[in-house]
Amino acid sequence: MSDMPKIRIDQVGKTFVGKQRSVHALDDIRLDIQPNEFVTFVGASGCGKSTLLRIIAGLETLSCGEILLDGQPVDGPGVDRAMVFQHYSLYPWLSVMNNIKFCRQLKVISDTVRNDADIESASGRADALLNLMGLSAFAEAFPSQLSGGMQQRVAIARALMPRPATLLMDEPFGALDAQTREVMHDLIRYVHRLEKSTILFVTHDVEEAIYLGGRVVLMAPRPGRIDSIFEVPLPAVRHQDMKLSPEFTELKRKILVRIRETSGMQTDLDQLARLSAQE
């Protein structure tokens, strides 16, 4: 039992069937993810990293293979796997606090409430998450009154509220500016240690993937597949200075080179030079 992976991705394939042509989005993906791992996925666009995450979330069906969660096949979304989206996922008609507490309105959660103590511990958790995200002063604000970074913090707090064992993050910081991102990175690393959750994090930013992940999974497009997996040589507790360390930059260089090689999109510098010479 103890060596059973939290998530087993077993020969997963996905084909989007269109009218004119079918797209082979994922081909024979195999990966085991251990409990409390932080795995980041990078790759050129079209490599199917988001599709894979959405399949694990149960939001997308797979064409072949299987996803096993604690040994059980995934069939549709579940409260054990929370997802944080890039944007537009907050409920604009609810205050920040009520967004975080949204899951309490759902039957699957409210059925587990047995007594007053449960309710009290739940609102205690909502308060704690609000504090953790540094949003205590904004409990009654509407999402439209918050900055993009604050909105994403609310989305993370809302996802954490039902104590999901697994947190799936689909480019959650993609729309944020660089400074806000750094703050969010340290926050999410802290949440990972605090909540002991397993985190799968999709990004197109290699630096983000290395700084956050214990392992970086590099995917390649056409068809979407796992190209290589890199262990990140950084300790569990990280700080921004580590981004300048030789191990970090060396890994970043390796991954960037490999993404360039697999993307199929290359700028032919010689060709450009010839073109400009002609003029």
Binding site: L59, Q86, S89
Partner: protein
């Protein structure tokens, strides 16, 4: 590097000097209120100017109307002046039952409109939420939508006669099908991430419709109601022109029979005014009910 420094050192003293000078003698450009620029694509306009222009938009045609009739450009029999229309309005109010006519018409519009909304909103939500329902009903609704509601009047009269239900049915036919499609479109515009977030929190289909789609779509829904309410007034007049002996539309028709062009004008303007007030009421409700929906 050294060139940089020398520039800085030569500039700094002069800056300090100007700061010590009395403000009147300063050589700095005096801040002048920038002339507001009106012709900017999608530009801003201050509320004062908005009000001014909106008033002007009403006053100018009114003046043109007044001038045209006062200087005898048009025959007053066919084109009564504003004063004649206002006088007629007073007469209609005091002795010809304007209030009854208006209330009757408002009642019919509201009845047809409410029945239409009560049926169209749930149906539109189902069409917008579930693809099979959409595939089943949307092409049909689209087809019926293009049939002119006015053309149904003879049929309506044959089927339900010429009593109140006939007029309400015509208004219903005119608004319902459009409303269904618009509600469905509103529902399809609810961001997918809002729905998927609820799914990953374990929400059931019913919970997603009740707790995500419906609350999310409310502002758009109210906007759809506001727009279709205007159409309901159009069909009201059609219904009353054909088969009625009360209401504003009927009054307009009767006025035509007696060559009372001033009353026709009064009736048309009155319907426009009621429509404008309804529209503003919808907008007000929207602002009050959905303060979170800031554009």
């Amino acid at each position: 590097m050294s060139a940089h420094q020398s520039i800085e050192s030569s500039v700094q003293p002069s800056v300090k000097a100007t700061e010590k000078m009395p403000p009147v003698a300063t050589s700095r450009p005096i801040p002048v209120a920038r002339k507001p620029r009106w012709w900017v694509i999608r530009g801003e306009l201050n509320p004062h100017a908005v009000w001014m222009l909106a008033t002007l938009g009403f006053v100018l045609p009114f003046l043109a109307w007044w001038a045209g009739t006062a200087f005898g450009v048009a025959d007053p029999l066919f084109m009564p002046g504003p004063l004649a229309v206002i006088k007629r309005l007073g007469q209609w109010w005091s002795s010809e039952g304007l209030v009854d006519d208006a209330l009757m018409s408002i009642y019919r519009v509201m009845a047809g409109f409410v029945v239409s909304a009560v049926l169209a909103i749930p149906l539109g939500i189902y069409i917008g939420a579930y693809r099979p329902v959409q595939a089943l009903l949307e092409p049909l609704t689209d087809f019926i939508r293009y049939m002119p509601a006015v053309a149904f009047i003879p049929l309506v009269m044959l089927w339900v006669g010429i009593d109140e239900s006939a007029k309400i049915l015509i208004i219903f036919l005119g608004t319902f099908f459009q409303m269904v499609l618009m509600v469905a479109e509103d529902v399809r515009r609810v961001p997918m991430a809002q729905i998927e977030a609820a799914q990953t929190m374990g929400a059931t289909r019913g919970e997603i419709i009740k707790k995500v789609i419906f609350p999310s779509v409310r502002p758009a829904l109210l906007d759809t109601l506001r727009i279709t309410c205007g159409w309901a007034w159009t069909y009201l007049v059609v219904a009353e022109l054909v088969a009625s002996n009360s209401g504003l539309g009927y009054a307009i028709l009767k006025a035509q029979r007696y060559m009372q062009t001033d009353k026709i004008f009064a009736g048309i303007l009155l319907i426009g005014l009621i429509g404008l007030l309804t529209d503003q009421a919808f907008r007000w409700i929207s602002r009050r009910a959905f303060p979170w929906n800031r554009k």
